[in-house]
């Protein structure tokens, strides 16, 4: 009974009867669901972010398929330590700004690159377990706050300060 009531209800459609609902919607119910889901995500900044984050996490995990010497200059492939660290960093959502991409690092590990206007940041989770950070801009200026650290909180503050000041 409850289900029939729900089906009958169509507040903004052309009619309220079950027949008119079926005539307008049943031709492609999956498309209706798909359209609703897309609209649902498009309307929400938070869900867009979650969706983008999921893509970045998948991209990072896929880096495990890269072999050694991928750049033909002898670069190491990202190992489980660097991939896990990068994925954990993304999951904990420490930064409001999401990386634009996750790629393999020539230093051996995973690199997350950030951009805001002309400002850029490259955060590298290395296979050794340490973290490298490079802050620069599009004009080629390298910021003095270049650091190698395993204190992720400090690194996050540095990125935030560089990208937002």
């Amino acid at each position: 009974m409850a289900t029939a009531e729900v089906l009958r209800f169509s507040p903004f459609g052309p009619g309220n009867s079950l027949r008119s609902y079926s005539a307008t919607r049943s031709a492609s119910p999956l498309r209706v669901v798909e359209k609703e889901m897309l609209r649902s995500t498009a309307n929400s900044q938070y869900l867009r972010r979650v969706q983008r984050l999921e893509v970045l996490i998948e991209q990072t995990k896929l880096l495990s398929q890269i072999g050694a010497n991928w750049d033909s200059y002898g670069a190491e492939a990202p190992n489980i330590t660097s991939i896990t660290s990068a994925v954990n960093f993304l999951i904990t959502g420490k930064l409001d700004l999401l990386p634009i991409r996750a790629i393999q690092s020539a230093e051996g590990g995973v690199a997350l690159s950030f951009a805001a206007g002309e400002k850029r940041a490259l955060l590298e989770f290395l296979n050794s377990g340490t973290v490298d950070l490079m802050l620069y801009d599009n004009l080629g200026n390298l910021s003095p706050e270049f650091s190698e650290s395993d204190d992720i909180e400090k690194v996050v503050s540095a990125i935030h300060f560089h990208l937002t000041r």
Partner: protein, 243 residues
């Protein structure tokens, strides 16, 4: 505590949205008017991003072609917590965490909607929505019913562990007539030993025949409705976590 003035110290709201959709997609020439709106809002919303919509065109004997159209702009506050969605087919105002209160939220939505309305000229409205997305978290392994009153029920004779969860309900609303779309979605765990879920409640109503002044009175009525659905969707145990 009345559901009309519900307030939690650590509100689990990750995003609140008021959106007003137009009856039709306006022509691309209205992007100029929306840019003008961006200039008016520049002091408080300095970041501008284009909103684009992708569509596939299918033809017999030809490869599908992807067409991307610009449908508007996002105007973002400098801290990124408030976002105006100025679209050719509607308006939206988002507030991300930390959420302050209904009065502050709706006042800014109404102020910016009035500015949007001025630049796009007379238009017919199709629907308006109030949406609250909440992130709820509790210790892993605890039964959902300890924290939620709306949840997927799995018969006891079957395994109780969930690999993932996406539950979507649509509930007709009486007065004013509308529709609640409620989604319960499992998130990847953010903290060890905890599970996290999104409880996403979107209340949609028809604005047909309403003047702008009445429209905002109606939006104010949604406050009690969204509070009632939220407090009744969670248990007292869950409320303790953010009180």
């Amino acid at each position: 505590m009345s559901s009309d003035t519900l307030h939690f110290e650590k509100a689990p709201i990750v995003e609140a949205v008021i959106a007003i959709d137009l009856e039709e997609m306006l022509g691309a020439d209205c992007l100029g008017a929306l840019r003008e709106l961006g200039e008016q809002l520049n002091t408080s919303y300095p970041t501008i991003e284009e909103i684009r919509m992708g569509e596939f065109e299918f033809g017999l004997g030809t490869q599908p072609k992807q067409v991307e159209t610009q449908i508007g702009y996002f105007f973002k506050s400098s801290d990124g917590k408030q976002i105006i969605h100025a679209r050719r087919n509607g308006f939206g105002f988002s507030r991300l965490a930390p959420y302050q209160d209904w009065e502050t939220f709706t006042a800014e939505a109404r102020r910016t909607w009035t500015m949007y309305r001025k630049v796009i000229g007379p238009v017919k409205l199709r629907r308006w929505t109030v949406r609250y997305i909440n992130k709820l978290s509790w210790p892993a392994g605890e039964p959902m019913e300890k924290y939620l009153r709306v949840y997927p029920y799995i018969p006891e004779d079957l395994p109780q562990e969930l690999g993932s969860c996406f539950m979507r309900l649509q509930v007709p609303l009486g007065s004013p007539q509308g529709l609640l779309t409620q989604q319960l979605v499992a998130l990847p765990p953010e903290q060890p030993g905890k599970v996290a879920f999104l409880l996403d409640n979107e209340f949609a109503f028809s604005p047909i025949g309403l003047s702008d002044a009445i429209l905002w009175e109606q939006i104010d009525l949604a406050r009690e409705i969204k509070n009632r659905f939220f407090v009744n969707s969670i248990t007292d145990k869950m409320k303790e976590a953010f009180s």
